[in-house]
Amino acid sequence: MTELKKTALCSACEKAGGKMVDFHGWLLPVQFDSILAEHKAVRENVGMFDVSHMGQIRVTGKDAWKFLQYINCNNIKNTVSCGTYSHILTEQGTIIDDAISFCLSDEEFLVVVNAACIDEDFAWFEKQAKNFDVTVTNESSKWSMIAVQGPKAVETVSSLFPSIPSRFCITEITFDGAKGYLTRTGYTGEDGVEIMLPNDKINALWDALLAKGVKPCGLGARDVLRLEAGYLLNGADADQTRTPYEANCGWVVKLTKENFIGKAALEAKKAAGFASKLTGIVLKSAGVPREKCKVFFNGEEKGFLTSGTYSPLAKGIAVGYISTDVPVGAEVEVEIHARRVPAEVVKTPFYKNKV
């Protein structure tokens, strides 16, 4: 087995009681004291996550925006400080990764990508950059990142960083003499920020947040929070066999854009229609749906789950690729440990806050 990669916060997480697990080759905390307590902290107060494993790719040059427009299916905002969530697609219109591109200046963007996709994303960026006047730099190993999330997140961090940008925006910060970035983003369905600092400064920020009573939270709580909020887990709910339409993210596809990678394929696939689509499911009796569970409608197998969990807000919740002939509101059954549990097809998200 290859040695697991450690973030600069690994020791701090262990010290805080983190149960460390292998997450795509990274040693990260799955939980501290309790997933349910951590979930509650983020929904009602404030929690923090070590997300240093995530990647940062800097795009600079005259064509920076043009290049990002070409490799993203969404319209990337080129207003300074604005960020845009989008999918990066193959020529077949299927999902390589989902990422946020932040505009730092006319000729400079910072793209934050998923940890498991850093190498593939960067190789793809480099390959596509050849036709543009841009330089792409993989800065992932330089940056550490903490996500501070919850209704009290902004209030809590504003004593450290007085200027908090508006939703989905980025601002440059200085902390302990070092430059970094603060973005008003997160993957929990709550308001919050994500703070990037050089690796040697991140522990000071972690300690400062701990001192303010911010609760350390792990991947377990993060998974429940993001699923409740209806956010994709790339690699589980989306991969290179699925288009954004099938992943229930048609809104990130802007076919009116002049050109982008995957556009022609998406037009053709959209016209032909889709056999299955990522669909929300709520159990109607006790149990916990998990990935790979089969879903039945009128006794017929109609698909399988890609993510599922126990939600303290809505009990057993899941998403999965279900045949498009199963309508919202349909009574279905989920097979859990050879038992068929009644469930209902619902619209996602399962939880919506005003963020």
């Binding site: 799955v30 939980q31 309790s34 997933i35 349910l36 377990g220 998974d223 429940v224 006790a286 149990g287 916990v288 998990r290 969990t309 126990y310 440990h337 038992r339």
Partner: protein, 126 residues
């Protein structure tokens, strides 16, 4: 109620407490800590015949599903109904109110093959 010292254990963390002709079954303190945040217990049906070592119950936490094995053979004669409303009782009282089910033993000598508390403790300290 079902003191650890008076229970016998499987390596897979179930305990059995002999109560006349029945064995009361639960999971250890160590197991409930490892599983944490128990949100559902899928209990066996009363009347079911189980063999020692048979998977007959599932404990679901937020992050995982754990199979529970019968420590001894026999018939399921009772299940802990309190767990359907309060599954976290297993976390709070693994050796008391958080018991899972009772087996009417067909071969009580099977208990002798189970680990003593000290022997069990030694397996989890490795």
């Amino acid at each position: 109620m079902y003191k650890q010292e008076n229970c016998r254990f499987l390596k897979s963390h179930e305990w059995a407490f002999v109560e006349g002709e029945n064995a009361v079954v639960g999971i250890s303190e160590h197991a409930q800590e490892e599983i944490s945040d128990i949100v559902f217990v899928d209990l066996p049906k009363v009347g079911r015949q189980v063999k020692a070592g048979e998977n007959c119950c599932v404990i679901e936490s937020v992050k995982s599903a754990s199979e529970i094995y019968a420590p001894v053979s026999g018939e399921i004669v009772a299940v802990n109904e309190a767990l359907s409303a309060d599954p976290a009782l297993v976390n709070r009282e693994a050796h008391n109110g958080g018991w899972l089910f009772k087996i009417k033993m067909t071969n009580p000598s099977e208990v002798d093959a189970l680990l003593t508390f000290d022997a069990y403790k030694a397996t989890i300290q490795k």
